[in-house]
């Protein structure tokens, strides 16, 4: 079969590539020799231009050598930088370096030793205040959306529980008590893999704190006697105060929800007390006041530990209202009667008639602190949570001191505004619901003679953090911030905090 020209060309190229001579190949295909000759000649020329393998290898070696050299240079640069940052003098490094490396080292030294100008202290403080105000606003907006859902959910749950709750017959009461005890024992004592014990020692914000709350809810759910409910609620109020104190002592943020739960417990206790005959209210009200007195000792510094300090005043004011209502529920307006009641209470307690707290909620219930108990009737002066207003900022670091004129211009009255916690100091001063009572010199006055918390009066609202002035600072058109006051700025400078 006769081959086409293309097939012949392929055959010839293969023969050429295998090393055959051009004339020999053409002779083997003499019928196409005239057409094949120019094409095969060109192919032979191209094949001759391919560099020999030895040159290719040399270039590869050159390339690898350049890569290795580059790597060494980069690593050397890194080494010089490390030494420079470690404090090795520039002259010493330059002495050791090759001439090619010296400009790099000099540039690194320039970068290392040329700090930018320090930011303006006023702008720094304004920026912080603005940021915190924006955060507070966003949080309030977020919370404003939540109650709709949570309230519906709570109502639904309450409805369900109300439907499930059995009528308080004697048998059911006993049965329910056993079930409640079992649940609490399971949750708090036995637990699975230590969950119960973890829950018992948990604090607000911990993973197992919900289990602890579940145990409390179970106890309340299966208690039908208003007096028992009141006792439990009062006891839980005390426990919650202890938990808040533990959070504070551990330096952790106190969630506002913890205080809100404490307040809700007081309200529930008051509602339970108001269901009782007058003669049964006396001791419970006193217990409620004693438990609430822990807040007196606790609130000191709580403002700093609280995640939302602005809510503190509101909650404590509301608590004061609850306690006032509780006192009113036993007709405690008459001091003489209060004195008699308190004396009777003290006498009852000494004679053992007053139930010990462990009869309310068991031995594990935290005992009221002696100081707190005293506070319940004396209302000791409350110290301001804020630090002294005249506390000045610490000196800026030495590096920043060089540019101090730029950081804190002489005569700048902003230095007064940079006092640590100055805005919050006003919050705990006049007009605050936490305004301290003058310290009483008489020991242990009657329990109802003085309110633990003064109710809010016509005094001006405390200058809380949210009312602190904060210039938007570079944010024109921004509404005046309503968030917390600016915290004291650290001395902005070149030195790192």
């Amino acid at each position: 079969m006769k081959q086409s020209l293309e097939q012949v060309l392929d055959t010839c190229l293969a023969e050429l590539n295998s090393g055959a001579d051009l004339e020999v190949v053409l002779g083997a295909h003499h019928e196409h020799a005239d057409e094949l000759r120019p094409m095969l000649a060109a192919a032979a020329l191209v094949r001759m231009d391919v560099p020999p393998p030895v040159r290719k290898s040399a270039r590869k070696q050159e390339f690898l050598h350049a890569v290795a050299s580059r790597r060494r240079t980069v690593e050397a640069t890194e080494g010089y930088i490390t030494e420079l940052k470690a404090g090795v003098p520039l002259a010493e490094l330059l002495d050791r370096a090759t001439p090619e490396m010296r400009p790099l080292i000099h540039a690194a030294w320039r970068m290392h030793t040329t700090p930018p100008p320090a930011p303006t202290a006023d702008k720094y403080a304004e920026g912080k205040a603005l940021l915190m105000a924006m955060a507070a606003q966003r949080r309030s907006e977020r919370r404003a959306k939540l109650p709709g859902v949570s309230d519906k959910l709570r109502l639904t749950i309450d409805d369900l529980l109300a439907g499930l709750r059995p009528r308080p017959t004697a048998l059911r009461r006993a049965w329910s008590g056993a079930v409640a005890t079992l649940i609490v024992l399971i949750v708090l004592s036995v637990g699975v893999a230590g969950i119960g014990s973890a829950a018992a020692s948990s604090l607000p914000g911990d993973s197992f704190y919900g289990v602890k709350e579940l145990g409390r809810s179970a106890q309340l759910l299966f208690s039908f006697d208003p007096q028992r409910k009141a006792e439990l609620n009062i006891e839980f109020c005390g426990q919650r105060l202890d938990e808040i104190e533990a959070l504070k002592s551990e330096g952790r943020a106190v969630p506002v929800e913890a205080l809100e739960e404490w307040l809700a417990g007081q309200r529930q206790a008051l509602a339970n007390i108001q269901q009782l005959p007058l003669e049964q209210r006396q001791l419970l009200v006193e217990m409620l006041l004693m438990r609430a007195a822990g807040a007196d000792a606790l609130h000191q510094g709580l403002r700093d530990a609280l995640a939302d300090p602005a809510a503190l005043d509101e909650i404590l004011a509301a608590s004061g209202v609850v306690l006032s209502e509780a006192k009113a529920s036993v007709g405690a307006g008459d001091d003489t009667r209060d004195d008699e009641a308190a004396e009777r209470t003290e006498a009852d307690r000494r004679s053992g008639e007053l139930p010990e707290e462990k009869t309310v909620s068991g031995d594990t219930a935290p005992r009221p602190k002696p100081g707190a108990s005293e506070a319940s009737v004396v209302s000791p002066p409350m110290e301001s949570a804020a630090e002294p207003a005249d506390e000045q900022l610490p000196e800026p670091p030495a590096e920043a001191a060089a540019d101090r004129e730029f950081v804190q211009p002489a005569g700048d009255d902003a230095s007064g505004g940079r006092h640590r916690d100055e805005p919050s100091s006003g919050a705990a001063s006049s007009g605050s619901p936490l305004e301290p009572e003058p310290e009483a010199t008489e020991p242990s006055p009657p329990a109802f003679s003085q309110p633990i918390f003064e109710e809010p009066t016509d005094t001006p609202e405390p200058v809380g953090p949210e009312e602190a002035p904060a210039d938007p600072g570079g944010q024109p058109g921004e509404p005046p911030p309503e968030g917390p006051a600016p915290q004291p700025p650290p001395p902005p400078g070149h030195g790192e905090p």
Partner: protein, 191 residues
């Protein structure tokens, strides 16, 4: 924060961010105090103007607040996330702003109300360095500003820029070589 050693413990930072994601004002105050100076330094040497750097730094924290819900710890520290915001803001700033001639040293001296002598002394080096830095590529500027001015490690710079540590070292070498050349052209004699 300027180095790995000074970085706060991870659990502490996690707790701080968790509180910030709840818009806790105190948490944002802490974040501001912790990272302000570093971010400001970075932005200053990118834009070369103090007032503008302060405004952009504030904008970084506002942006961070707006996007704080989207932040999650996935191997990238919070500081790296902040610096990325800062980097993007600087780029956006240069995109939307026409190129304006920087104030000359004489103009700065006239504008300075106080301590002109100190302005002369300090601004000269700032201006010279800023001018030299402007000759580098964006990548090179970012690497050496983060590495020297903010004192970050190669790993931190790599996390911020989304590069490998090797690439950061190489960029750093090229940046310093270019900077050394530019400074030499400006009359900065090698000691």
């Amino acid at each position: 924060m300027s180095s790995t050693e000074r970085r706060p413990p991870l659990t502490e930072e996690h707790d701080l961010i968790r509180r910030a994601q709840d818009y806790d004002p105190v948490a944002f105050g802490e974040i501001y105090e912790r990272y302000y100076v570093g971010v400001y330094k970075y932005i200053y040497y990118r834009v070369g103007e103090q007032s503008l750097a302060e405004d952009l730094t504030m904008e970084v924290f506002v942006k961070a607040m707006e996007a704080i819900d989207n932040f999650s710890f996935r191997g990238v520290p919070f500081s790296a996330w902040l610096y990325r915001i800062a980097s993007n803001l600087v780029i956006d700033h240069f995109r939307r702003q026409p190129v304006q001639p920087a104030l000359s040293l004489e103009e700065k001296l006239v504008a300075a109300v106080e301590h002109p002598a100190q302005v002369l002394e300090s601004e000269f080096t700032h201006q010279a360095l800023q001018k030299a830095l402007a000759e580098l590529t964006d990548d090179q500027q970012e690497v050496i500003v983060l590495k020297f001015v903010d004192g970050l490690s190669n790993l931190e710079v790599a996390q911020i820029l989304g590069k490998t540590e090797g690439a950061v070292k190489s960029l750093q070498h090229r940046a310093l070589a270019s900077l050394g050349r530019v400074l030499g052209e400006q009359g900065e004699a090698v000691a």
